[in-house]
């Protein structure tokens, strides 16, 4: 309180007028321009200047995607053990659980989208950069297995820095586990729509994220296998700004469509209906 008081005194002493109130600002990581944070939030975290689609929490994503009160979570209490006895990993996770309110980097469950039933998964980059360890692997595998048994489509929002380093080789094996479950769902005729959000990289790109029947990306999000700095280190030169953005991957043929957040729910609903997943009568 007194510090503020002295600031004012100092300012007056310098002869300047008291500064106007400045609203909190959002600085876009893509175009580096600033906009009022309130505007960015109003647009559900889309940069008003360049249309970069920023990161949403899993709760926010579910809220803007599925029908109100339709989400029923799977395995919400699952938490990771420490397969390598990695120093401080258990403690670190406990801290992140309490600071984020999340139990790991993916939330899965069933829901309806404009009445069409789906199994949905949403990764959350706030939890250790959305990295895939045992819990992410197990929950995604179970979600696909449930969808296979119940003839349901899967909509998976991906966001991940890649493997969970602290789980070492066990983390790598989650790529095989999840991809296996996706494959069995596919062989049973299941529809899988992958929605790549910021960032989708590493072991997640090299497994279930790239296996969608339909792959959608949000504008300007990062999509790639190797990290930008790793590649720059290999080739000893700077990469162009648009390298590994959604539009780049779209041009190269790895993304079916780029869909803006405000249209996502509607596009998903249409695609589900095109595959015969009609709303149940009473829910129309």
């Amino acid at each position: 309180m007194f510090e503020g008081f002295f600031d004012v005194v100092k300012k007056r002493a310098r002869g300047g007028a008291e500064e106007e109130y400045k609203p909190p600002m959002f600085k876009c990581p893509r175009c580096t321009q600033t906009s009022p944070l309130s505007r960015y939030e109003e647009l559900h975290r889309v940069c008003p200047k360049c249309n970069y689609h920023g990161r949403l929490s899993s709760q926010e994503r579910i809220a803007i995607t599925v029908d109100k009160d339709s989400f029923k979570e799977f395995d919400g209490g699952m938490i990771s053990a420490n397969p390598l006895d990695f120093p401080d990993y258990t403690e670190k996770q406990a801290e992140i659980r309490s600071s984020t309110g999340l139990n790991d980097a993916v939330v899965t469950g069933t829901a309806t989208i404009k009445g069409s039933p789906v199994v949905i998964g949403v990764m959350d980059s706030r939890y250790m950069m959305g990295s895939m360890g045992s819990v992410v692997g197990e929950k995604i595998t179970r979600a696909f297995e449930y969808a296979t048994e119940n003839h349901l489509p899967v909509v998976m929002f991906t966001a991940s820095g890649g493997a969970r380093m602290q789980e070492g080789i066990v983390s790598l094996m989650q790529m095989a586990k999840t991809s296996g479950a996706v494959k069995l769902h596919s062989e049973a005729g299941g529809l899988y729509i992958a929605v790549m959000t910021d960032p989708t990289t590493g072991g997640v790109t090299a497994s279930f994220a790239s296996l969608g029947d339909i792959i959608i990306a949000e504008p300007k999000v990062l999509i790639g296998f190797a990290g930008r700095r790793v590649i720059e280190g290999t080739i000893k030169q700077r990469l162009p700004e648009d390298f590994q953005l959604a539009e780049f991957m779209f041009d190269k043929g790895f993304v079916d469509m780029i869909v803006e957040r405000r249209k996502m729910r509607s596009v998903l609903s249409h695609l589900l209906k095109l595959h015969g997943f009609a709303p149940k009568e009473k829910e129309v």
Binding site: S80, A81, L84, M173, S179, G180, G203, S210
Partner: protein, 268 residues
């Protein structure tokens, strides 16, 4: 078998000049080998070798990551770091094996999939993902052996199999210890420390359910007796291929899925 070496000592050993590569093993394990080239989409990646040969007189498909034995060979095979077309060639040959009811034998020996602009443009992530998913349901037995380095997704792309064996001094890891130290501690020079806590040795793989077998190397390492190590690999393969070929294919596929399905450590 040697008295137990540390993870770090083994990493030094597999990087020793003279460590045998697939090119050394091929003529000693297989007969009638014919190499097949190209992914039919883009090109032929020299970092992955594939073809048909005989093991104990029976046709098999062989897919392997290729390390060079000198700088020229290494330049030609990009230091065993495949591009997407390498993985796509592997998948093409694996599907061909399925069609003609040949078992598949994969040899893993890579620092990792190549990290470069062209690799990204051609879909390194998609290529690896596709192999992992497709290998899971190929209706023919698959045995994979890690010869030296099993680096991350680049290794796993040839690592979905019915049984995985590690050469005694081989490693399998999510990332090189150097990269691991760099990411977690922002200090690549702590790679030795990283190697000891990452659990990347052959015995660690068996303990974690990632590998089923360890193939013994001659005293001092594989390079000390190429004939002996080739004999050990061949003996293992002969036994396993015969065993897996006996099985009902649907049972085999269920077991393959379960092998990966059960890996993970969590509580609920």
């Amino acid at each position: 078998m040697d008295e137990k070496k540390t993870a770090w000592e083994r990493l030094q050993l597999i990087h020793t000049k003279g460590r045998p590569t697939i090119k050394d093993y091929l003529p000693l394990i297989f007969t009638d080998f014919y190499e097949m080239h190209g992914d039919r989409l883009y090109g032929d990646d020299k970092a992955i070798l594939g073809g048909i040969g005989r093991l104990d007189g029976k046709p098999v498909t062989i897919i392997a990551e290729v390390k060079g034995r000198d700088i020229n060979e290494n330049k030609a095979c990009n230091f065993a770091m495949p591009h997407p077309e390498g993985y796509r060639k592997a998948l093409r040959l694996a599907r061909q094996a399925e069609k003609f009811h040949r078992p598949i034998i994969c040899f893993i020996d890579t620092p990792g999939a190549f990290c470069g602009v062209a690799a990204e443009e051609r879909g390194q992530g998609e290529a690896i993902a596709k192999n992992i998913a497709e290998f899971m349901t190929l209706r023919t037995p698959i045995i994979s052996i890690v010869l030296g380095e099993g680096g991350s997704g680049g290794a796993l792309a040839l690592g979905v199999c019915d049984e995985l064996a590690m050469l005694e001094n081989a490693e399998y890891s999510v990332l090189s210890p150097r990269g691991f130290a760099s990411i977690l501690w922002k200090d690549a020079s702590r790679e030795q420390e990283a190697s000891e806590i990452m659990k990347l040795t052959a015995e660690d793989m068996v303990d974690l359910g990632v590998a089923e077998a360890v193939i013994e190397e001659p005293l001092g390492g594989a390079h000390n007796d190429l004939d002996k190590i080739s004999e050990n690999i061949k003996e293992y393969l002969s036994q396993k291929i015969a065993e897996k070929c006996q099985k009902d294919i649907d049972v085999l596929l269920k077991e393959r899925y379960t092998k990966f399905r059960k890996i993970g450590a969590f509580s609920e």
